[in-house]
Assembly symmetry: C2
């Protein structure tokens, strides 16, 4: 099954656009997980078990697993395998990008070795740095268009021959998207840009970070970001869910935070 | 010692601007390495031993090690440790980029866990996605300005409010470079752009890919790319050196190709 179909199936089943960002940070996780053999897997599994009926997908952030070291990457492989037993899609937030043959190596690493269903891709190097990922027809990619961070404006908002850079990226992704397996990353912190991109590509799926800790509002995100059918959006929350409590009740607190976010999102859909 | 000093010291000692790109690809390596316990380490060590007196630095490409899997990353850690016993700096070509706290996690992974001396960074997400790398004062980064691939022109050459995007990146990197530990990536395949960037930042060090297999010429690269003192450039060659032969003489052939490139570069300096 193609990634976007698999994603939408789970979003419909769980009636949820929420994506839980599995951004492990051992400085913020509860003390009690440290007595486990594999605290990274234990923590994530507990979060997943507490939220699996409330999400459309999960999104681990590769940087945090790389920061732990090779052990972190081994735990990540166990995590993606575990999520797949639940039939829930996994997006890896890796923001990879390189020239053609090297991009193909990254695609192999993410889609074949780890088995992720989709990944984020940086567009700076242009067409031949993005298309190798799109050749995996059953996988998906989300190309960075307008990111949620303060520095996102440094280049992405520059007027490039009559149109901001992020809109140039949107235009190019439309061209490259022959297999219909590309989506876009647009931040919840920039509602006007989100609205513009939705108008440019009414049918595309967006990965939307920036809700919660980064300051993006749910109402404006849903009104500006979803498709007409109220799908086509993956609303990510990481810290607000997985670190909702750093006590023994961390999984229960994550469940509660996920329910609140899901319900708030659904109120505006 | 700071990265750029360490780099220049080795470039002077070996009278060479050559960087050997350690882009492992087990489909192209000689059959004879496959009987080794760790063929990835064996192959790279043989190349390194054959070229260590001829280079300024080495540059493994992360994608190719990730494509092998976790074993590939374990071999890569052994490779960087081995190169450090020779006192030669190692640039990891990883092109990482993400928002502030996530960029910091990538910096930890590359600079602390692996111990690389420098890395390549993608600028698309702007200031807060680049500065966490620059906080490691003894490490270096090379920010992508104008890349060597055909798609490099898709966005990097767009006129952004009076100046192509790649020049906007150069201007911003100058601003962010308070610790004087940033360089730029500019491709050998775009000699005019290389000349322009050199005029914009006469003192900065460039990582220059695209010689050889990608079609960049040595003469134009040196004339346009080096600083006035004939340093300030890292000239990378990967496939042209490490796959110069796929027979038993692969290391000897790599040495010969490195000598030829070093000498051709020095002819024009």
């Amino acid at each position: 099954m193609k990634f976007f179909e698999k994603l939408e199936e789970m979003q419909k089943k769980n009636n949820s656009l929420v994506c839980v960002g599995l951004d492990i940070d051992l400085a913020k996780t509860p003390e009690i997980i440290k007595r486990e053999d594999d605290p990274v897997f234990f923590f994530n599994k507990a979060i997943i078990d507490a939220t699996k009926d409330l999400v459309g997908c999960y999104k681990p952030q590769m940087a945090f697993y790389e920061a732990i070291g090779l052990d972190g990457l081994e735990s990540l492989k166990k995590i993606v395998d575990y999520i797949h037993t639940l039939n829930i899609p996994v997006i890896i937030d890796a923001k990879r990008n390189d020239i053609g043959n090297t991009a193909a190596a990254y695609a192999k690493a993410m889609f074949e070795n780890f088995g992720f269903d989709a990944m984020t891709v940086n567009p700076y190097m242009g067409g031949d740095s993005v298309t190798p990922f799109l050749e995996y027809q059953d996988k998906g990619i989300f190309v960075l268009a307008r990111t949620s961070n303060p520095g996102g404006a440094d280049f992405q908002s520059l007027d490039c021959e009559g149109m901001p850079l992020y809109q140039r990226v949107v235009e190019k992704v439309k061209e490259w998207n022959a297999n219909k397996n590309a989506g876009l990353v647009v931040g919840a912190t920039v509602p006007d840009e989100l609205k513009t991109v939705r108008e440019m590509v009414p049918d595309m799926t967006f990965l939307i970070p920036g809700i919660g800790a980064q300051g993006g509002g749910v109402e404006s995100t849903i009104k500006n970001g979803v498709r007409k059918d109220s799908f086509g959006a993956v609303i990510n929350s990481s810290r607000g869910i997985i670190f909702a409590s750093n006590g023994e009740d961390f999984a229960e607190a994550a469940r509660k935070a996920t329910i609140e976010l899901r319900d708030e999102i659904n109120k505006y859909r």
